[in-house]
């Protein structure tokens, strides 16, 4: 985790995976005002963001 990009990448990849799993195993979990499975979409975007950060830190080292 020496490079900050590695820490940020790891953190958001982990968050992404947790949210994705939550979105998949509890697809019916919705807040009162929305029909969107937001855990699934946010999880996917965070995983993408985290992976880009990890890729950037690998590329520079």
């Amino acid at each position: 985790m020496g490079d900050l990009r590695t820490s940020i990448g790891l953190f958001f990849s982990l968050m992404g995976v947790i949210l994705l799993i939550t979105g998949i195993i509890q697809p019916g979990a919705r807040a009162a005002l929305t029909q969107v499975n937001i855990n699934l979409y946010s999880g996917a975007s965070m995983l993408v963001f985290g992976s880009i950060m990890l890729w950037l830190s690998r590329r520079s080292s």
């Binding site: 900050l4 940020i8 979990a29």
Partner: protein, 552 residues
């Protein structure tokens, strides 16, 4: 609001990462300058994001969402008019003096440029103010978590203070800056889905503009007359008070933000820090203000959402953000959103603590209590100051629970102290004739003028403790005009006294004043366009104008 195990998992993973970053950065800290100024070694993308994250406290996030519901898109003026131009100014024009003077803090710059008493005045007021703002934001967070989650005030205050203390104690400024970058991404990724969902539920921007009064979705159209907009401000007060005096006073002189830029690894990086930060800063209104406007639109249509009411009757705008989260986020995202709130609070607090320990160690302890000690001693003092600073902030938070009026009073006094600051720096940096006596008495006169303006005018029942010469339509308008009078008085008094006192010899002004400082010329030093400060500033201006035209 009830949390599921997955929400607690997310919150605890965040705490683990924050502490982990502090632990890793600890290895880089071996001198007092590593601890207090990051040894001027941080890459520019990191200082830029830390530059805005340090200012993005929980109060800012919750307060901006509340103002969005109360005033509409006009709130964006606090970003577009009230921050971005000042950030461009400090990057292009002022950073060469801060960074080039080799001062380690803003008060130290005042010592080099003016004299000891001006530094002492600025260092003491700044140190007290950082402690109180850190304590007040802790108080706000404790109240919020008590209200929303039913957590005890003491537990949430102590838990978050302990975590901030550990990572700033271990890694100092570098650790605070690294964590601010993580917090910045968390705030954006945690709140952006809320903004998108709430807006689309309210029918998109189009739907909100048809459903709400016109004034809520236009930032400039109703600003000509203070009676036509909910802020009660008119264009001169807004442009001169907020856009010039207050915003330049904060972004160009407040050590809390300047410290982030001064940690950059080169002069060019230090200058680009606020310029690069201006891009995300321009976009932030869509993440923090638009949800508030959407909350208002939703509460006026029959979808089952309404803004909670205060005990006194009116809508409690401060709860707009948390009630939206409860209505749109299921377990999982809810945990992430609360973690983002926690993060915004911690970044604000760590910013204050790291600025406080630098000013105390270098400007007060090393200057007046024990000069010429070995560096290891100052590193130790810096760490102890961190500990004491956090403890005093906790004390302030509890003081706020007991004496709410004292906090309002102190914030008023801080406003008086800050208002004239930009006048002093402007004259000091760009007019070589300015003297230490001029700066010192100009600052005091400016603060007095601010207090007198407050005493002579009334707005919403506030002020007028001397006499009532004028009534403002809102306290916001009153604040803007207080700032205008304070700044003008400071400029006049500083100029007059400077002309009557003996100037500093030119030989002592190198790297401190315009004309005696080697300002790096872009076209000679940097080859690529995106490394040139002036080019970056011009791009920011074009984007800024475009945004203001779109949301006219």
């Amino acid at each position: 609001m009830n949390l599921a195990p997955v929400d607690y998992l997310i919150l605890s993973l965040y705490f683990a990462f924050v502490l982990g970053i502090g632990w890793i950065v600890k290895r880089k800290v071996s001198t007092s300058s590593d601890f207090l100024t990051s040894g001027r070694s941080v890459p520019v993308w990191i200082t830029s994001l830390a530059f805005i994250a340090a200012n993005l406290g929980a109060q800012e996030v919750i307060g901006m969402c509340a103002s969005g519901a109360k005033y509409g898109i006009m709130t964006a003026h606090f970003y577009w008019i009230g921050a971005v131009p000042a950030m461009l100014f400090v990057g292009v024009f002022m950073m060469p003096f801060y960074y080039g003077s080799r001062a380690r803090s803003v008060p130290e710059y005042l010592k080099l440029r003016f004299d000891e008493k001006t530094r002492a005045l600025n260092a003491c007021t700044f140190a007290i103010m950082t402690l109180f703002s850190s304590g007040i934001s802790m108080y706000a967070l404790g109240l919020l978590f008590e209200l929303v989650l039913g957590w005890s005030f003491t537990n949430s205050v102590l838990l978050s203070a302990a975590i901030v203390l550990i990572y700033t104690y271990l890694g100092g400024l570098t650790s605070a800056i690294y964590n601010e970058v993580l917090q910045f991404f968390l705030i954006v990724l945690g709140f952006a889905p809320l903004a998108i969902m709430a807006t689309s539920k309210a029918g998109g921007w189009q739907g909100m503009s048809t459903r709400l009064p016109q004034v809520m979705t236009h930032s400039w159209k109703y600003i000509g007359d203070s009676s036509q907009n909910p802020m009660g401000v008119e264009i001169f007060g807004l442009a001169a008070g907020l856009g010039f005096v207050l915003s330049f006073g904060y972004w160009c002189t407040d050590f809390l933000v300047i410290q982030r830029a001064m940690a950059a690894n080169s002069m060019s990086a230090a200058r680009r820090t606020p310029l690069i930060a201006a891009f995300p800063k321009m976009i932030m209104p869509f993440v923090v203000i638009v949800p508030g406007i959407a909350a208002l639109a939703l509460s006026q249509s029959n979808v089952g959402y309404s803004l909670p009411l205060k005990a006194s009757g009116g809508p409690d705008y401060d709860q707009a953000l948390t009630t939206l989260m409860a209505q749109f986020y299921p377990s999982g995202m809810l945990g992430l959103g609360l973690t983002a709130l926690m993060a915004s609070f911690m970044s604000g607090m760590a910013g204050n603590v790291t600025a406080f320990n630098t000013v105390f160690t270098y400007d007060l302890y090393q200057s007046y209590i024990r000069p010429k000690a070995p560096d290891a001693h100052y590193l130790w003092v810096g760490r102890i100051t961190t500990l004491v600073g956090v403890a005093l902030s906790i004390g302030t938070a509890y003081l706020a629970t007991r004496f709410n009026n004292i906090m309002d009073f102190l914030q008023l006094i801080f406003g008086f102290v800050n208002a004239p600051l930009f006048g002093t720096f402007l004259l000091g940096m760009f007019w070589k004739r300015t003297t230490g006596h001029g700066a010192f008495w100009g600052l005091l006169a400016g603060t007095t003028a601010a207090a007198c303006t407050h005493g002579l005018t009334v707005a919403e029942g506030k002020g007028g403790w001397i006499a009532t010469l004028h009534t403002f339509p809102s306290t916001m308008a009153q604040n803007f005009w207080i700032a205008i009078f304070a700044w003008s008085t400071c400029m006049l008094v500083t100029t007059a006294i400077s002309l009557l006192t003996r100037p500093k010899p030119v030989s002592e002004l190198t790297n401190l004043v315009y004309g005696y400082t080697d300002i790096p010329h872009d076209h000679m030093h940097e080859k690529v366009w995106y490394l040139k400060p002036v080019t970056l500033a011009l791009i920011v201006i074009v984007c800024l104008i475009a945004l203001n035209v779109i949301f006219y």
